[in-house]
């Protein structure tokens, strides 16, 4: 074998603390190494060309690049060696940046360690074999999880591109958080009026199959060929018969239930349609508050339903869909602000969240668009908005900015003045973050045209008191850090801009999809700058706030971006499979079946070979995780490119005694 070694400076990233020329010189002593050099930027075009030239000039049949993490450039260099006619798996990378130069300052020790890592890589390479990918078919259907504005945009764009879409929405209607908003910033457009043409499009588009009130049960398979099990939760109403007439809702006697769509402001019936423009406009019975389903006594809705759609004996149904790609658009939820004692820990009735205030402002909300505070229906004349409740607060482990609160608070202050002209709004803020198009101008309008008083500082306490006229007021005490003195405002209503986190259940969904998520429940993109839509699981894409905090236009953009990624994937007639998968040495396999039980992908099946049971790997399903290899008592099942012999060669290279 003829091996070439290329030691990269990575500018000064490696060169500053590793003597790369010495590493190259040392590696010439290694077995089968016939060429070694150091280069400034190996990944650059001249750097790659020098590899191609060296392969031709020195008749190399294997290449080691000592540079950064394989996650960064393994794919790059595999393409380079392939260009020069070498099989891409006859290439190895030694990570001397993340594993050496960035973590150690001692140049001699770093140089030594780098040389050893190069030896390790070249010893592995000596045991490598050319590998060839297989081709397989793609199911050209996409699953969109979540029916908020990001998911809707992704679904509509995919459908426009001729792709069949399966949309799964957890609640009984699509529309997500945007459907709950009264107006949008900075244009003060009616939120549901902007959104409803899109939700209607979803329901009318023949390419889109909508499963509302449904959740993902499990996902198996791989890019191009996912099998999705969907739990259609029981609505106790046959939606094929329900016309959405609302007779059942009128007559339902269980009326005092917290209204989830209205964020707990106001009450709703046990059978309901979340809001007038709901898609699908079908009724759902909530079993925990339905008298018939809980106590067996009632049945009024069944009596009044003109189409006989009520089915009390309905049960959850699991259906199966085949798709080739998945877009997650599961959005967000607000953090549990009731743990924050300084804002009353959720026990003060007129301290509401920003989303609750949207419902109080909305014409379709519980107060029909008249601002009335929850405790006594008083129209507030003095409203205090508090920013960064559970955001940018390291003391409670939430260091990040929730992004859109500065803007919606400015909007709510403007709308408050519109609804109640004699009112005065106050905003306690830390910094005003308004970097979008027309955003800063908008917050200026709130201050200059609408007279909103912005107070830079935090609130320490909200204390109820009884005014001389017997009305309860809320003393909001805080600091004005610009004036350097305490301030106290007697508010009728307090609105908290509560910080956001990944939607409830996001972590569980991530595990089903085998994608990463952070401690706040946001899904991890493949690269924070250059792959913001992809995940590290091929065929799974992200859209909207599930990936990180963003406002409506950015969520819509990412929805379109995810759709574009899916269309690019589906534009190929066939996909290539990764050849780094398990294979069975049939002579050594004793048919014990242990590998079948540990495989998380059901990629191994039992076959009969001359009457004896043997394991067989389903190549397109195997993900190359290696669990079977570690479990096999005979060493009969190996993972290509990571065989026992290849790994032992690495160990032997390092452990020379």
């Amino acid at each position: 074998m003829r091996i070439g070694i290329f030691v990269c400076h990575c500018g000064s990233n490696i060169e500053a603390t590793v003597n790369t020329a010495a590493v190259a010189k040392k590696s010439l002593e290694y077995p089968d190494v016939v060429f070694a050099t150091d280069t400034m930027y190996t990944c650059s075009e001249p750097g790659q060309d020098s590899i191609v030239e060296a392969i031709k000039e020195h008749q190399l049949d294997g290449v080691v690049v000592a540079s950064c993490s394989p996650r960064m450039h393994e794919a790059t260099f595999r393409r380079t060696v392939q260009r020069a006619g070498i099989n891409p798996y006859m290439f190895e990378m030694a990570n001397i940046r993340e594993h050496v130069s960035w973590i150690g300052k001692d140049k001699d020790a770093n140089t030594n360690k780098s040389a050893e890592l190069v030896l390790l890589a070249s010893e592995k390479l000596r045991n490598n074999r050319p590998l060839f990918p297989q081709q397989f078919d793609v199911t050209k259907r996409v699953l969109v999880i979540g029916g908020g504005v990001a998911g809707i945009q992704a679904a509509l764009d995919c459908a426009d591109g001729g792709i069949d879409v399966v949309m799964v929405e957890k609640t009984a209607t699509i529309g997500g958080k945007m459907a709950k908003l009264d107006k949008t910033f900075p244009t003060i457009d009616c939120s549901s009026c902007v959104l409803s043409p899109k939700t209607v499009d979803v329901s009318q588009n023949e390419k889109i199959t909508l499963h509302a009130y449904s959740e993902i049960e499990s996902i198996s398979g791989f890019v191009g060929n996912f099998t999705v099990k969907i739990r259609k939760k029981s609505t106790y109403v046959d939606w094929t018969l329900c016309t959405g007439c609302g007779s059942c809702i009128e007559k339902c006697p269980s009326k005092k239930n917290p209204d989830a769509f209205n964020e707990g402001i106001g009450t709703t019936t046990a059978i309901n349609i979340p809001y007038p423009q709901a898609i699908p406009k079908k009724a759902t019975i909530y079993a925990d508050v339905c008298r018939k389903l809980r106590d067996g006594k009632c049945g009024v809705c069944a009596k009044v339903c003109p189409t006989g759609a009520i089915k009390y004996d309905m049960v959850d149904e699991i259906i199966e869909e085949q798709v080739g790609a998945v877009i997650t658009a599961t959005g967000y939820d607000q953090m549990d602000w009731t743990q924050l004692g300084e804002y009353g820990a959720g026990k003060l009735p007129d301290v509401v969240t920003g989303l609750q205030y949207e419902r109080l402002l909305s014409a379709s909300g519980p107060t029909e668009g008249h601002i009335k505070r929850p405790s006594d229906g008083l129209e507030p004349k003095s409203v205090v908005f508090i920013q960064c409740v559970g955001s940018r607060d390291k003391s409670i482990g939430r260091p990040y900015c929730s992004g859109f609160c500065c803007m919606y608070t400015a909007k709510q202050a403007i709308l408050t003045k519109d609804h109640v002209p004699e009112s005065q709004s106050y905003v306690f803020y830390m910094d005003i973050r308004a970097p979008g198009k027309m955003y800063d101008e908008f917050t200026r309008r709130a201050m200059e045209e609408y007279g909103t008083e912005y107070i830079r500082g935090r609130v320490s306490t909200i204390q109820p008191h009884i005014r001389p006229d017997g009305v309860v007021g809320y003393m909001v005490r805080g600091a004005d850090t610009l004036l350097g003195q305490p301030v106290e405002i007697d508010a009728d209503l307090v609105v908290l801009a509560v910080g956001v986190e990944g939607a409830q259940g996001a972590a569980q969904l991530a595990e089903k999809l085998r994608i990463s998520y952070d401690q706040y429940g946001f899904f991890m993109e493949s690269h924070p700058k250059l792959k913001p839509v992809e995940t590290n699981t091929a065929g799974v894409y992200l859209a909207g706030v599930c990936q990180g905090v963003k406002d409506i236009p950015t969520s819509v953009s990412q929805g379109s971006a995810a759709a574009a990624k899916v269309m690019a994937l589906f534009s190929k007639p066939k996909l290539q499979s990764d050849p780094q998968i398990a294979f069975v040495d049939i002579k050594r396999c004793i048919g014990c079946g242990k590998c079948i039980t540990v495989c998380p992908y059901q990629a191994i099946k039992e076959v009969s070979f001359r009457g004896a049971p043997k394991a067989e790997v389903v190549g397109t399903v195997c993900q190359g995780c290696g669990l079977c290899n570690a479990t096999c008592p005979q060493g009969a099942i190996q993972v290509a490119h990571f065989t026992d012999n290849q790994l032992l060669a690495e160990v032997n290279a390092l452990c020379q005694f």
């Binding site: 004692g341 306490t461 204390q463 109820p464 008191h465 009884i466």
Partner: protein, 313 residues
């Protein structure tokens, strides 16, 4: 349970009734108090305002004395003393700080025991059911605003007791004693503390606000766990009334007095007559048959001198 007891200076003067009732209820609840021999002042506010090391040395001296006693833990009734003791213990973890203290005390300070408030020991060592079972005279008819003061639970990292935004230990205790507890949003507000000595306007306003809010939410008395808070709310109540332009006439009890009352202790152990705003009418109404209980007890003429000079401590 054996407790090393740090009475604090005010227990010998302005809050005699707190000290006496604390000793009495501890005995009734089965805690044995032994005074720390030769204890000295914790330095109070002047001490730590001037120099942390000085304040630390004064407190460390007392804790070091307590460490030689055979006791399960060190307690004090006074939150201000407790704050100094706890801060000293906390700051002594810093070797540079300990070196300063050692120098002031002329010898290396031994490992110091953790001090607790008497209240914390009572509510953590006894269950509310146990306490309720000992009640001989339920405090039915008392509508109490529980006022913890700013020091009992703050700063949370040092005090390590109860919820620092909405403490509930006194509330739970008073409920166990049969009293009604009113919702009270100013549980941990500042009463003005020792500013009464130099600027009584501030104290009058801050204490006035606490009393006003207690009244608004339907309290007919306030319970306190701090000698200084109690003094500001009780002795200076007429000043607060003047500042707020309204009458409060709210008796301000130490929680130990009400606990003793519920346990059936003799008045010599409670010293109710030491309170400036007389509680006697209110307490009398408790003895009356339920239907005759007046919603608002009328305060009797105040017997004690409540001039400013008397309040300086």
């Amino acid at each position: 349970m054996k407790l090393a007891y740090y009475p604090g200076c005010s227990g010998e003067g302005t809050s005699k009734e707190y000290d006496v009732s604390t000793r009495a209820i501890c005995e009734a609840l089965g805690f044995t108090l032994t005074d720390i021999d030769d204890w000295s002042c914790c330095g109070s506010t002047p001490g730590h305002s001037l120099d942390h090391a000085l304040s630390g040395a004064l407190s460390a001296r007392n804790l070091a004395l307590a460490s030689t006693m055979e006791a399960d833990c060190v307690v004090t009734p006074c939150p201000s003393c407790l704050s100094n003791l706890k801060h000293a213990k906390h700051r002594m973890e810093d070797p540079a700080f300990k070196a300063k203290v050692d120098e002031l005390l002329d010898e290396p300070t031994p490992a110091l025991p953790e001090p607790y408030s008497v209240l914390q020991v009572i509510v953590e060592k006894l269950s509310m059911e146990e306490i309720a079972a000992k009640v001989k005279k339920p405090l039915k008819g008392l509508k109490v605003a529980c006022y913890y003061g700013c020091l009992m639970v703050r700063p949370p990292k040092v005090m390590q007791f109860d919820d620092y935004e909405n403490p509930m230990s006194l509330d739970n205790l008073l409920v166990a004693l049969g009293a009604e507890v009113v919702p009270f949003p100013l549980k941990t507000e500042c009463c003005g503390a020792s500013l009464g000595v130099v600027d009584k306007e501030v104290t009058s306003k801050l204490s006035g606000r606490i009393l006003e809010r207690a009244k608004q939410f339907g309290a007919n008395c306030v319970v306190s766990a701090c000698p200084l808070c109690q003094m500001n709310l009780d002795l200076r109540q007429s000043q607060a009334e003047e500042a707020m332009g309204q009458k409060f006439e709210l008796p301000i009890f130490y929680y130990t007095q009400l606990l003793g009352l519920a346990l059936g202790l003799d008045d010599s152990a409670l010293m109710m007559n030491k309170l400036v705003v007389s509680p006697h009418a209110l307490l009398k109404s408790l003895d009356a048959p339920a239907e005759a209980v007046a919603p608002e007890a009328k305060a009797e003429p105040k017997a004690e001198d409540k001039s400013d000079e008397g309040a300086a401590s």
